[in-house]
Amino acid sequence: MRSFNKIEENDISFFTQVCGEGNVLIGDEISEDFGRDEMTPESMRVMPEVLVTVDQANQVSRLLEYATQKRIPVTPRGQGTGLVMGSVAVHGGLMLDLSKMDGILELDRENLTLTVEPGALIMDIRAFAEAHDLFYPPMPGEQSASIGGNISTNAGGMKAVKYGVTRDYVRGLEVVLPTGEILQLGGKVAKNSSGYSLKDLIIGSEGTLAIVTKAILRLVPNPACTVSLLVPYPDALSAIRAVPILLQGKIMPVAVEFMEGDVIVAAERYLGKKFPDHSAEAYLLLSLDGRSKDDVERDYEHIATTCLHTGAIDVFISDTQERQDAIWSARGAFLEGIKAMTTEMDECDVVVPISKIVEFLEEKQALEQQSSLRIRSFAHAGDGNLHVYILKDDIDDATWEKQLHLVMSALYRKARDLGGKVSGEHGIGFMKREFLEQSAGAKAVSLMRGIKRVFDPEGILNPGKVC
């Protein structure tokens, strides 16, 4: 890694000239929130030297061109809701706060696209679409994340089984390269076989190749009716074993989530709200949508019958907004609920083939028994994407570091052996680079580094991340 330059007075003058006096904060003026994301351990917090709030692509362009010339590291930042330190300025330098670029710019009804700025929040985009009887399907647990952040990690979430992930809903991007050029990639077109898909390369690149300043999102018609099924199983493994069977049927659920009783209780405590059922150790939560109540009822009866055949204790039906809120608000609070259970934690966001989730969970259970650590998990089971959290509790730092590394290494090794990947949706960021290299292999990582050099010859953009 080549060394970077520290920010000096004349640099700050330039930033102020570009963005205005009140939009440049230095040192102690910067809130400590900008030194971490949602999962950064206390010991690893790093503050940027300067925080600049931008509101136009040409500001981003001028700042990046300048930073490349001056070899100043630049970290793009949205809502800071990431889990792998992707938006933490690990090399200090300049942080670009894009959260004020939050406009919803254009709804194009003929092309079913919505053009937004990177700081627009997922919850606002979804609400805007729904107000126009349209639907933006990607639904990560963190609805207060920004679309820029979701694009940077190719976020998936809870509707990916039927609808896919963020990449499937990005038609076009406006990006600023580290050298300052502003590029339009993709567009409002539905298909594109015109050379390498640079747009798709940017999606999931975690702000290491370019900074997104505008996105053209694809919308779909709003499903008229949605019903969820909360399916209790006697234990975790029997719930997970049912998943491939449910997905083999003729009806494609929107979501197939896996959750365990103690995580539900943690979410209840966090929210101060009761979950509608406590009868089982483990649950699947399925969601189905369709054009009419009758259509969806026919579909859910078919799936519910299959659930009973796979050993479900019962199938509970959530068919009104009140019931959906009671279930899905708890589901959305799992991460915060688990965080509130312990002092510190680290997470593993592996994705494995759906048929291998059982084996992965068995490994997780064995590791929990062998180690002295509590391990909690939930999963987008229909995507084979597990979120496993290792809790520090009251263990001393040295033991924690050692045990955590052992457990993490074992989990990632198991995922790799099962044909899985390091991250399903949270990204690699700073925290998971070691495991990416092990998983993807030296050649693939060297190709990634080559791509990085082409986009960012001086390596100033979000350094220390991904590869």
Binding site: L229, L230, K273, K274, F275, P276, D277, K293, E301, A304, C307, L308, D314, V315, F316, I317, S318, D319, T320, E322, R323, A326
Partner: protein, 266 residues
């Protein structure tokens, strides 16, 4: 051997959204929109089922409405209710609070003996929160509204906590009696698919005006309704936002005063 307690739970089918049409009499046109069980009634059903689990009561759900209101009785079966009664008759149409309370209380009388009547706090369409109390008056039984907790129950009485403005009252009511329960007294259970399969062929008891103890048509429907509705419209939604700027100290103080002013903090 003494019979098991009989709980009657009053439920209602309401429009699934606030975008409803009104006819010339000021009544909601119910066929035009998707319908659902009144959300407040889910808490009444849950309270009934908790008591049933404690003391082996039989729970009957009763509703008044058009034939398609049977759907919410089927939903009540799916939650664990034992019997369902539908009060339906064209002559009930256009009932105001008074006529509704009279009709359902007549239905309850025809289901006697009963020990406890449980209602939700209010409906989301009529919004009066008066039908429960009026029914108790017609039935000549004691009642309390706004029950927020069940403290105990026996074969003869029930002790409840009542959420009054500025005070919590503990009340013991002897059976037969009526209570209306607050939202969040319990988290309502979800309808069960196993119960749906098991109760698919279960009959709902249908009562029309001629089946009730009082068969005087003038007491029912529009004829029995002194209320004349001038105009009905959905409430205005206030979505104004205020963004406050300032240093953390100022913002914290402002937030505290806002919360205090809205009685979230005391």
């Amino acid at each position: 051997m003494p019979r098991s307690p009989h709980i009657i739970t009053c439920i209602k089918q309401v429009p699934g959204s606030t975008e409803v049409e009104i006819d010339d009499n000021g009544s909601l046109i119910r066929n035009a929109v998707a319908a659902k069980m009144n959300p407040f009634d889910l808490f009444a059903i849950e309270t009934s089922l908790r008591l049933k689990e404690q003391n082996g009561a039989t729970v009957t759900a009763i509703t008044m409405g058009p034939p398609r209101a049977e759907l919410i009785l089927r939903e009540a079966f799916m939650m664990g209710v034992d019997e369902g009664v539908l009060l339906t008759d064209r002559r009930f149409a256009g009932s105001d609070v008074l006529a509704t309370a009279w009709t359902i209380s007549q239905g309850i009388l025809s289901l006697a003996p009963y020990d406890l009547v449980i209602c939700g706090r209010q409906t989301t369409d009529g919004d009066t929160a008066q039908v429960g109390a009026e029914m108790a008056e017609f039935l000549g039984i004691p009642h309390v509204t706004n029950v927020r907790a069940i403290l105990s129950s026996s074969d003869e009485s029930i002790t409840v906590e009542v959420d009054l403005p500025g005070a919590i009252q503990v009340a013991c009511l002897h059976f037969p009696c009526l209570i209306t329960v607050e939202k969040d007294i319990f988290q309502p259970r979800l309808p069960s698919f196993r119960r749906k399969l098991a109760t698919r062929d279960k009959q709902v008891k249908v009562l029309c005006l001629d089946d009730l103890p009082d068969t005087d048509e003038k007491h029912y429907g529009l004829l029995g309704s002194p209320t004349k509705v001038q105009r009905v419209y959905p409430p205005r939604r206030d979505v104004t936002k205020e963004i406050v700027h300032g240093d953390p100290q100022t913002l914290a103080e402002r937030l505290f005063h806002e919360l205090e002013g809205r009685k979230f903090l005391q």
